[in-house]
Symmetry: C2
Subunit: 156 residues, 2 copies
């Protein structure tokens, strides 16, 4: 199974991740943008995620809440700035525990021979914010999400 690739060059504002999925991009895009499916793949295995809002259109808001075993809740939210099905999403992302630290995320879906490469570029306000996100263990969290996403795709 192809795993997540992640690149974060020194002293840059970007984290770039990508992975190939064995599915056509219409299906990958649909799965990625379906509010009923988000709880099945978003975030690491040990938390539960609920979708509070997810209005996948330009100007629409998304908001997810993660709950851990101890009952702690963590909110994540943003605004969709571009939705071009099945090619591209642009949205902002904010962890509500760290208000005002916003990142701009662009997810691109490229199909080659029936497989889909999903490319996720996150741009941070500062290099320090980006490095902080990496140190917080985001690679492990993202890898788990994308593993879960692949498992989900196989069931669709």
């Amino acid at each position: 199974m192809a795993k997540l690739k992640l690149v974060a060059e020194p002293d840059k504002h970007e984290i770039r991740m990508w992975r190939d999925f064995e599915a056509p991009r219409e299906l990958v895009f649909k799965a990625f943008t379906d509010p009923t499916l988000v709880p099945k793949w978003w975030g690491p295995y040990e938390v539960t995620t609920t979708v509070d809002q997810m209005d996948v259109r330009k100007g629409g808001i998304w908001r997810y809440v993660q709950r851990d075993d101890s009952g702690n809740e963590y909110g994540f939210s943003g605004v969709y700035h571009e939705v071009v099905s099945p090619e591209r999403l642009v949205f902002t992302f904010e962890f509500e525990g760290l208000p005002g630290h916003v990142l701009l995320e662009t997810v691109t879906f490229e199909e080659h021979d029936g497989k889909t490469r999903m490319i996720d570029s996150s741009i941070f306000q500062t290099v320090e914010d980006r490095d902080g996100m990496i140190q917080s263990g985001m690679e492990r969290g993202a890898a788990a999400s994308w593993d879960r996403f692949e498992e989900l795709l196989k069931t669709l």
Copy 2:
């Protein structure tokens, strides 16, 4: 008169601009976020700007329209992601003629001895987008806007 400073390091996603204004930051912040004042300073001298929407609060939308002498209209819009008066604004920025190319702008207002340093950091989705913005003459446009903004401050 202190002029606009602009830094765009090679191969980075950011454009950083700053300038000192001879006014307390409460006034600078208020002028910057007042919809009735935006037409007096936003954009170069030779165009007219009207505010279509400007809801300065987290999640609020802004949209300005520029008209040139030939009657061409150009729309610019975005969403406020953080509003901390009189310290900081975070918002997205999109030129509607180039949809899907979004930038994330953070404006910080720092007061020192009654003067205010306004620092504007724009983060682009790609280095190419950033370089394209520079090549489009944004420095001239920004310098004119900030000159007009200083003139406006003197009248308040």
